[in-house]
């Protein structure tokens, strides 16, 4: 579903290597969490997967299509909720959702049905006509997720999607993500909150643009002899620091 091989992304004429030889494979219907500290290259990786950035070297394919060359072939089948809300703050929630629905070619009837369904799931009822600038941080995050899911994509990318959402709603969202997965949706999410990632099917730990380990949460914890993903991350980070 998503394949990356030796993915490298450099900025400032090679002075900054944000992603450094990353290789991973995500299966259909899987929730894969890319976790790492801020600045470890998670967002850059997502941007390359969604076609917003071109890799310096290496290759990526999403839904069997090479990116970014085949972006136009898959952009209608993927959904993206970026780290920044990326909504028009001077438009209402409905106007924002309506705009993205049109970009994805949805007709009005289908849009209305999906919009109402997602408003219920994401607890945004009654805020349809609120300007996005007047929504709380958590609501903006949910609105961004709503715009990513409107067109029923096959793959969604949630970049730090659950940051700023209260624990109750976060737990609810995870249940929702799992229900989407059972319907065949593939989810790649990034997070710097380690305990959150343990709810994913598989985890990839990223450090300085490199994938330092990956696997199912229980497998990772067992492999490193610890009881939490945070400890796995700290252990790997400590090892890296000791190695450096």
């Amino acid at each position: 579903m998503i394949e990356c091989a030796n993915l490298v992304k450099e900025f400032k004429e090679g002075r900054i290597r944000a992603v450094d030889g990353l290789t991973l494979s995500i299966k259909k219907g899987e929730i894969y969490a890319l976790i790492g500290a801020n600045g470890s290259g998670k967002t850059t990786t997502v941007n390359m997967m969604t076609g917003a950035l071109a890799p310096t070297s290496g290759r990526i394919s999403v839904l069997g299509v090479e990116m970014p060359e085949g972006k136009n072939l898959v952009s209608g089948r993927i959904g993206v909720a970026p780290q920044e809300y990326s909504l028009y703050s001077d438009l209402t929630l409905e106007q924002n959702a309506g705009f993205f629905a049109k970009l994805y070619g949805m007709d009005f009837k289908r849009f209305r049905a999906r919009f109402e369904e997602l408003n219920g799931i994401l607890r945004l009822e009654g805020r349809e006509h609120s300007l996005v600038s007047n929504l709380s941080g958590g609501m903006k995050r949910r609105a961004s997720i709503e715009c990513a899911l409107l067109h029923e994509p096959e793959v969604v990318f949630f970049d730090e999607a659950t940051v700023g959402i209260d624990p109750v709603l976060r737990a609810f969202l995870w249940d929702y993500f799992r229900s989407l997965r059972s319907n065949g949706l593939t989810i790649l999410l990034t997070s710097h909150v380690m305990d959150e990632a343990s709810k994913a099917d598989r985890i990839g730990l990223v450090r300085a643009g490199k994938l330092v380990d990956q696997g199912e949460p229980e497998t990772l914890m067992a492999r490193h002899g610890v009881n939490s993903i945070e400890e796995v991350f700290l252990k790997l980070s400590g090892k890296e620091i000791a190695d450096a």
Binding site: G51, P68, I78, S86, L103, Y104
Partner: protein, 383 residues
């Protein structure tokens, strides 16, 4: 330590220091801060430095001369030739000889600014005047009244030429204005004011609107959707076209309705020309916004284009009065063609056929900006 409630120059200085650091960090803005005043001062200096000169006029000297019988030897009088010679040495005008009728046609088509006819009996009448006879020598003038400063220059040049010809004590200038009469200062200013307002405001609003996508952080998300870069450009252009229609309507309603601007031509043609020109400015803004990283950079581009356009498009100084090396630059400034169009339709009453060339040039400019915008637009964050 200053109290939180009192005035602290240190806190003000901290704000000033922070703003200066931000400006210093934005290299394009820093460059503009030095380049913009220098470029604009240079352009205005060159454009306004000279005086009205080289006004193209045609002189038809039909004066047959007069052999005055003064004693033993006659003294031939060729007053018309004196006047023509004097005009030819005057840098205020650029004189071509020809028939008065062809000169009038040239004035109507914009090739000449005035046509002058010195009649065949001019010297004779002038001589009779010197003898105290109650007659008055006449010169016929057919002149474009759309630029009062140039009218004054031409009248002054003729006055000087006649005075330099010592044989003529006085003359009667029979003036006929092209395009149906003399215009007020407001009448002649409004076409270029409309062009300037559209240049400046359409550019400014368009640059701000398009660059907002960059600063709001929504652009990276759009890169991941099926929206193509060209579709996005067309979308911006369509929305700004609607904004432009409103601006054109306001400008024309205020100009014509409130100030009573003369519109001798077809108002619909004027509206179409104004809208076409506004579209060319929208497309210029869409093209330029591909290079602006923030609204601050984008906003600076509007005066950087509008002010030199004002100086070089003929709005302030007639093109033929600009230094020779600047004149070709004027012809590549879109506002020059807007001035030609608006002045032609409003003051001269030109129809679609007469303004077709300027119309097509603006269409070509719009297409050029569209192509430039399409070839420079980004479809990825790192493109």
């Amino acid at each position: 330590m200053p109290r939180a409630g009192g005035f602290s120059i240190r806190r003000s200085a901290a704000v000033a220091e922070r703003v200066l650091v931000q400006i210093r960090r934005d290299r394009r803005t820093l460059g503009m801060l030095f380049a913009m005043p220098a470029v604009i001062m240079l352009i205005f200096g060159f454009a306004l430095g000279g005086q009205v000169s080289n006004v193209p006029i045609l002189v038809d000297n039909q004066d047959a001369g007069y052999l005055a019988n003064l004693g033993v030897t006659g003294t031939p009088v060729y007053a018309g030739s004196h006047i023509l010679a004097s005009l030819q040495t005057d840098s205020a005008v650029s004189v071509r000889a020809g028939s008065f009728e062809s000169g009038k046609q040239g004035v109507d088509s914009g090739a000449y600014f005035a046509a002058v006819l010195i009649p065949s009996n001019f010297s004779k009448v002038a001589f009779m005047q010197t003898q105290g006879r109650n007659v008055s020598a006449s010169i016929q003038l057919y002149i474009d009244g759309t630029k009062p400063s140039i009218v004054a220059t031409v009248l002054g040049a003729i006055q000087n030429a006649v005075q330099n010809s010592s044989r003529v004590k006085g003359f009667n200038l029979v003036q006929q204005y092209a395009y149906g009469g003399k215009f007020s200062g407001l009448d002649v200013s409004l076409p270029s004011v409309i062009a300037f307002v559209l240049t400046f405001l359409v550019l400014l609003i368009s640059l701000l609107t398009v660059s907002r996508e960059t600063t709001s952080g929504t652009l990276p998300r759009l890169y991941t959707t099926p929206l193509t870069a060209v579709e996005r450009l067309v979308g911006y252009t369509l929305s700004l076209l609607v904004v432009s229609i409103m601006m054109v309507v306001v400008v024309l309603v205020v100009g014509i309705g409130l100030f009573g601007a003369v519109v001798r031509g077809d108002p619909l043609l004027l509206f179409g020309a104004a809208l076409l020109y506004a579209l060319s400015q929208v497309l210029l803004a869409v093209f330029l916004s591909n290079f602006a990283r923030n609204e601050f950079q984008a906003v600076q581009l509007a005066p950087l284009i509008a002010l030199p356009s004002m100086a070089l498009s003929g709005m302030l100084v007639p093109i033929f009065s600009l230094p020779g090396w600047i004149q070709p630059i004027s012809k590549v400034i879109p506002m020059y063609y807007a001035n030609q169009l608006f002045e032609g339709i409003m003051l001269k009453g030109y129809g679609a056929g007469t303004v077709a060339f300027d119309f097509l040039v603006v269409v070509a400019i719009a297409v050029l900006f569209l192509l430039l915008a399409m070839t420079t637009v980004k479809d990825r964050m790192d493109a």
